[in-house]
């Protein structure tokens, strides 16, 4: 995707977006709510018209209703989009059939997918009776029956328990090992860290950083992350910490401070000292940055709002 712009009225959902996916990799598309991930995916599949820019898939120009490209893609939607009145098996059969599978080929692939998502025993049951994790698995399975060359997963693990999530992450790895290219969208750092070869970080409709995990973290490796829980958080405290030379960003969220500062600058002591003066510290740690910190440094925002109080400062 090159220089893609998509507007909804006044809102620019994709703002000169550049995104590249290499055959065979798992690309993690990471970004907060409203970053434009879903919009990027919809344009990539040819579901919505874009205002300008260029999209090509498998070396061919993508446009709305390019049936040839669509046949080779699979999409796992952010919402669970299976038919609740049909059984798991019937859902898979229908989606396989939409992609032109018939007869034995369809039977075999449905069987394969049922096994893969661990629902063989539940094939005859309706998704209404499934747990959240099982529904998510079926939602993923529906995109796999036709063996897509490119699989696009839009936040496939929203709202499920850790065990099901791990099962899904393992499955995604297996899918990629089978030769399928995967785009994996999420706002969970841990997920991209666990499975993605390359990561593109999106915010406000553009890619703001892109590379392997090591490359991304390397960008801010010369920095330390100090996490601090202040006993009496205040704006004055935030301002004083921010004023320390070498401190790059301060994000305060209800008493939890995340401070990015030049490594080995001795700032940890200074931060401690200021915080003590402002009512004390109940907890403090300092470590090398992770992906979350990369995001924090680049955007000054947390990837997910852990709670509504505080926010960025």
């Amino acid at each position: 995707m090159k220089n893609v712009v998509k507007r909804y009225g006044d809102l620019t959902a994709l703002d000169h977006l550049d995104l590249e996916i290499n055959e065979g990799e798992i690309l993690g598309l990471l970004g907060p709510n409203g970053a434009g991930k879903t919009t990027a995916i919809r344009s990539l599949i040819g579901l919505i018209e874009i205002d300008s820019g260029e999209i090509s898939v498998f070396g061919e120009k993508q446009g709305v209703n390019n049936v040839k490209i669509k046949k080779e893609m699979g999409i796992v939607t952010q919402e669970i989009t299976v038919f609740t009145e049909l059984s798991a098996g019937e859902n898979l059969r229908y989606f396989g059939a939409l992609y032109g599978l018939r007869g034995k080929e369809l039977d075999d692939n449905v069987k394969r997918v049922l096994e893969f998502i661990g629902l063989t025993e539940h094939a005859k049951k309706r998704p209404k009776k499934f747990s959240g994790g099982m529904q998510r698995r079926l939602n993923i399975g529906c995109a796999l029956v036709h063996r897509p060359r490119l699989l696009i997963m839009d936040e496939p693990t929203v709202g499920i328990d850790p065990q099901s999530r791990n099962h899904i992450l393992e499955s995604v790895k297996k899918i990629a090992q089978g030769g399928t290219t995967v785009i994996y969208t999420t706002h969970y750092m841990e997920e991209v860290q666990a499975i993605c070869g390359r990561i593109s970080i999106m915010d406000a409709g553009r890619v703001i950083a892109d590379g392997t995990l090591d490359e991304l973290v390397g960008k801010i490796a010369h920095e330390d992350t100090v996490r601090l829980t202040a006993a009496a958080p205040s704006d004055a405290l935030t301002e004083e910490i921010r004023a320390i030379s070498g401190v790059k960003s301060v994000v305060a969220n209800a008493g939890e401070y995340v401070i990015i500062s030049g490594a080995d600058s001795g700032n940890l002591n200074r931060i401690m000292e200021i915080a003590m003066r402002h009512g004390g510290v109940s907890n403090i740690t300092s470590d090398k940055p992770n992906l979350e910190d990369v995001f924090l440094t680049l955007t000054g925002k947390k990837l997910r709002d852990t709670n509504e109080g505080g926010g960025e400062s």
């Binding site: 599949i45 040839k68 669509k70 919402e79 989009t81 009145e85 229908y94 939409l98």
Partner: protein, 255 residues
């Protein structure tokens, strides 16, 4: 074909839908015929049954168009839309498959009511070709109405409610609860002025409604095929207008 079957299957799995669109009309036929026959002074069972069966058959043709709006709202408006359209199948193909499934279901209801009427109450069918044509056209009108509503209203529950509201508006206007003569337009609505009255008129004039009780049995003497065909033509006009309206609204305000 696969998609058409998919919608048929889903319609057949919907217990409330089956109840309302298969069981209810059958129950209504029994109820109405029994009550009317029991309370009428002359034994005109056959004539009463004929009227009840055909009337209920046509009413349900008009109303069962609410199936299509439900499927449009469920599948082509919400999140499922993206998944369905990501497949190499066009929006129109989904739309028409769902419409034909809905139409099929509607005609099935009609066929069941007619068959029961024929075998149990010995309903007189008049000109069966005209009856089938009226059934088909009324059902098509119901489908187009359903599509238009789905294009304009987002919630399937609201669509169904409005659909039923409009259907009953049409029944009342058509003189279902006794003839109404309005100023200016006169009795237009109770004759050809609504799809329902045109359909009824076509059916009646194909022979059914002109039965005369003579010497202990019915004589279906005076057919008026010309009027029947004229009524069918008017009905076809209604269908064409709603069909065109659906296309125009669909272009202006795509799903």
């Amino acid at each position: 074909m696969k998609i058409f079957m998919h919608y048929l299957r889903r319609a057949s799995l919907d217990p409330i839908g089956l109840l309302i669109f298969i069981l209810l009309p059958v129950a209504l036929v029994f109820l109405n015929v029994e009550i009317n026959v029991a309370t009428s002074h002359e034994i005109r069972g056959q004539a009463v049954a004929t009227n009840v069966v055909l009337m209920i058959m046509l009413m349900f043709q008009l109303m069962s168009g609410s199936y299509i709006s439900e499927y449009i709202c469920l599948d082509l408006k919400g999140a499922t839309r993206w998944r369905l359209l990501a497949a190499p199948v066009s929006l129109n193909k989904y739309l028409f498959s769902a419409m034909f499934a809905s139409l099929f279901f509607s005609l099935l209801t009609g066929a069941i009511v007619l068959t029961l009427g024929y075998f149990i109450y010995d309903v007189y069918m008049g000109n069966i070709v005209i009856i089938i044509a009226a059934m088909l056209l009324t059902a098509l009108f119901g489908q187009f109405l359903g599509i238009i509503l789905a294009l304009l209203v987002d919630k399937s529950g609201t669509c169904t409610a409005v659909h039923l509201g409009i259907s009953w508006g049409i029944f009342i206007l058509s003189g279902f609860f006794g003839g109404i003569t309005l100023p200016v337009v006169g009795d237009v609505f109770t004759t050809y002025g609504t799809p329902f009255s045109a359909a009824i008129r076509a059916v009646m004039h194909s022979g059914v409604g002109l039965a005369v009780f003579e010497g202990g049995e019915f004589v279906y003497a005076s057919f008026d095929n010309a009027d029947a065909i004229l009524s069918l033509g008017v009905l076809a006009g209604f269908v064409a207008v709603t069909g065109v309206a659906a296309v125009i609204i669909g272009r202006r305000r795509p799903i």
